[in-house]
């Protein structure tokens, strides 16, 4: 009850009134804020570069270099402020007709991050017209198309990678898409072989390939294999947020909430992962579930206040599973589906449609499932529930 009141108040007063009163700290030594320092050295380096930047003109190689580093940090920490800094550094290129290829790529990554997929694809297209051999450009393009469930086009964007040097990169790209259009088993076998052949592949590449293998294995019901791939991937240095999220979702499906909490122990800064923590606590009926739910609610409210809707998929999951409001969750899941169409987006839309008894709302996902023949037991099961409702 108390939580409901707090939530209600923070919705009615969508501003700082929901927070504690401001105060004057008692002594000078009191630490107010710890600046992000994933690695102290990297941070120092960034600060040095910024100082150099402040001295020189805006449109320089240094600015591009710094923007690239900020984007890398933003991706590693899932910290949107870094993407903002990078955008600020690249701002002066917006006015010129043909920015350098590197600027186009970075600009596409920034737009991808704020879900301006159309803008990102435009940047990538002009990049690839000028540099058809830019592997990262093709890959980024393929990933965006995959997120939009434009599988045929995604395959076309993976294809040029075959002729560029990295066979495992091309193979993983193709297998990831093919596994979603009814060729999961074939893609799995192919990718396992490709990984075995390329034992010299770099760590980041291996990690991505293992993540894709784990995802396919899970969808094929090979639970032990999936677990094996996930834990191998997470053991490689600098695991990314996407991998943490996918592994956590897999563990939640296997009803292993303790493992989720251990995996995400120090990741509560990141809303997407904090949501998985909350879902694990729900499975455990943990005593602090209410506190965690309140905190998540405040974070989603803060993001709504700035007029942002980047996390509607996660917010839909939160609203359905933790707030138990199917109607509201369905509205969020449908809005999310307009931007993102990965299997996880399909899943929350179906789950919300089932809970809200709104079979009609599930139609886009049912259409996608029948058009692609996607192997995905949880989606198939939800789809069957929807069809039963329609009878």
């Amino acid at each position: 009850m108390k939580r409901k009141i707090v939530v209600a108040i923070s919705v009615i007063l969508p501003c700082h009134t929901a927070f504690a009163a401001p105060y004057q700290p008692g002594n000078d030594a009191q630490i107010l804020e710890r600046l992000p320092a994933a690695s102290r050295f990297e941070n120092q380096e960034l600060r040095q570069l910024r100082k150099q930047m402040a001295a020189g003109p805006a449109r320089t190689e240094l600015a591009v270099d710094l923007a690239e580093r900020y984007i890398a940090r933003g991706k590693a920490d899932a910290d949107p402020r870094y993407y903002g800094y990078a955008e600020g550094l690249l701002k002066s290129w917006q006015q010129i007709q043909e920015p350098p290829p590197k600027v186009l790529l970075l600009s596409a990554l920034i737009k991808q991050h704020r879900h301006d997929f159309g803008g990102a694809l435009q940047d990538l297209d002009s990049l690839l017209r000028r540099q058809p051999e830019n592997a990262q450009g093709w890959l980024t393009r393929a990933i965006i198309l995959l997120v939009q469930a434009r599988y045929a086009e995604a395959l076309q964007s993976c294809a040029p990678l075959i002729d560029l040097d990295d066979a495992l990169l091309a193979g993983t790209c193709l297998a990831q898409v093919n596994s979603l259009i009814g060729h999961a088993q074939k893609s799995y076998d192919f990718l396992q072989e490709a990984l075995a052949d390329q034992s010299a592949a770099n760590a980041e590449q291996r990690q991505w390939t293992l993540t894709v293998l784990a995802d396919i294995a899970a969808r094929l019901g090979k639970i032990l294999d999936a677990e094996k791939h996930f834990s191998e991937a997470i053991g490689i240095e600098h695991p990314n947020i996407y991998l943490f999220g996918a592994y956590a979702d897999f563990l939640l499906d296997q009803h292993q909430p303790e493992k989720v909490l251990a995996l995400l122990q120090d990741k509560s800064r990141i809303d997407a992962l904090f949501l998985r923590i909350a879902l694990a606590k729900q499975q455990l009926a943990a005593s602090d579930l209410d506190q965690v739910t309140e905190e998540l609610e405040a974070r989603f409210a803060a993001s709504r206040m700035r007029g942002e809707n980047l996390h509607q998929g996660d917010e839909a999951r939160f609203t359905l599973h933790l707030l138990n409001k199917p109607g509201e969750a369905l509205r969020l899941a449908e809005a999310n589906w307009q931007a993102q169409r990965e299997p996880k987006d399909a899943r929350i839309l179906l789950a919300a449609a089932v809970a809200a008894h709104a079979a009609e709302a599930a139609k886009p996902v049912l259409d996608l499932l029948s058009a692609t023949g996607m192997e995905h037991p949880q989606l198939r099961q939800l789809a069957a529930q929807i069809r039963q409702m329609q009878r």
């Binding site: 630490i31 600046l35 992000p36 102290r40 909490l261 122990q265 800064r269 455990l284 809707n309």
Partner: protein, 380 residues
């Protein structure tokens, strides 16, 4: 089993809720009364450190001592990125308390200030540019309180200034304000007028054997016009309401492009008529899109949360009144002129071609997000 239980208990006992990672926002609250404004501005320490440097010993931790020594620099930096005017008179900002608060993503400095505007305030304008040069994703969340009413707006690099009518306090005044905005928008948002006129041009004519003939009686013409106008009205009111209440949401670039396309199609239909019967259906279909455009305008005006429905209703009525005024001038004139060569050749044919061309340029500009024609210069 036991070890699993121990692990579980350990984790449950220790739940570090760290601060969220979030894009940069500041929270600016202005309380207005009489000629005075009391302000409170919450700016993240992380943002201040990025802009002017707070961590003087470079150890990754910001202490109260470091903050305190930078008090003047912080106030100066903040003040130089905010200007408040009341009427058209600048209201100089006087710094007040310097405190700390916590939001979901960490510690914020709380700057309080007062601003005296010298005369009773009827409106204020806020110009905001904090951090936009360094982080274009920064947003200023402005909240203006006056009497019992509040007004909230999100300030961004593309929307960095907002005027707030303080007379909005009274529902009656707010109603008039939004009514006026509605009328203004239909009159000066040329795309809507051109669309409607394109549909109405042939209403005083009859299509027969691939050419236009003047209609005989006024009565059928009037019915036709009422049908078109009503269909357009019902459709755009529907989507305007749904979009304003947040039920539907579409990117404004698509909406604006689709509106331009609707003008092109409606105008071309007069030159090469594909549809000459049941134009009201066309009016209805495209009216749905125009309503979404109206909603974007209404959102840009900033909506008073406590009077959302009232503002929506007033704006909608304003749009209808503006539209009715246009039709009531157009219809008698067109009916009077319908037999003339000029009406059919100059207005319907040449006029429609011109409208289609203008709208085609809009379509290109809006869909490609560039400017091809300097419209302001053209209309000066």
């Amino acid at each position: 089993m036991l070890s699993r239980l121990v692990l579980c208990l350990l984790i449950l006992a220790y739940t570090p809720i760290l601060h969220a990672h979030k894009a940069s926002d500041s929270y600016l609250t202005l309380k207005t009364a009489g000629e005075r404004i009391d302000g409170r501005w919450d700016i993240a320490l992380r943002d201040l450190d990025y802009a002017i440097g707070l961590d003087s010993d470079d150890n990754g931790e910001i202490t109260w001592g470091e903050m305190r020594s930078r008090r003047n620099a912080v106030f100066d930096y903040a003040r130089s990125h905010l200007s408040i005017t009341g009427g058209n008179v600048p209201c100089p900002v006087q710094p007040g308390d310097y405190l700390i608060d916590t939001h979901t993503d960490g510690a914020y400095s709380v700057l309080t200030f007062t601003a005296a505007c010298g005369a009773e305030l009827s409106n204020i304008t806020v110009n905001y540019s904090l951090l936009f040069d360094l982080d274009p994703q920064h947003r200023g969340l402005l909240r203006v309180e006056y009497g019992q009413a509040t007004h909230t707006t999100v300030l961004s690099p593309t929307h960095d200034s907002q005027q707030i009518e303080l007379s909005d306090v009274k529902p009656g005044a707010a109603f008039l304000q939004y009514l006026k905005e509605g009328v203004w928008h239909i009159w000066f948002g040329y795309d809507h007028i051109l669309f409607l006129l394109s549909l109405l041009f042939p209403s005083v004519l009859i299509r027969l054997n691939r050419s236009w003939l003047p209609a005989e009686g006024f009565h059928p013409v009037l019915i036709e016009v009422i049908k078109i106008v009503t269909a357009f009205t019902v459709a755009h009111s529907l989507t305007l309401s749904l979009a304003t209440l947040g039920v539907i949401e579409l990117p404004s670039r698509w909406v604006e492009s689709a509106i331009a396309a609707s003008v092109v199609l409606a105008a071309l239909n007069n030159v090469y008529p594909l549809i000459s019967k049941k134009l009201w259906l066309v009016a209805f279909g495209f009216g749905l899109i125009h309503g979404l455009g109206f909603a974007n305008v209404l959102k840009d005006l900033g909506l008073p949360k406590d009077m959302l429905i009232l503002a929506l209703l007033a704006f909608n009525l304003g749009v209808e009144a503006g539209q009715l005024a246009i039709v009531s001038v157009f219809l008698p004139a067109a009916f009077f002129l319908r037999r003339s060569w000029g009406y059919r050749r100059l207005l319907v044919d040449a006029g429609s071609v011109l409208i289609a061309m203008v709208a085609l340029v809009w379509l290109a500009e809006r869909s490609l997000n560039t400017q091809l024609v300097d419209w302001e210069l053209l209309f000066k």
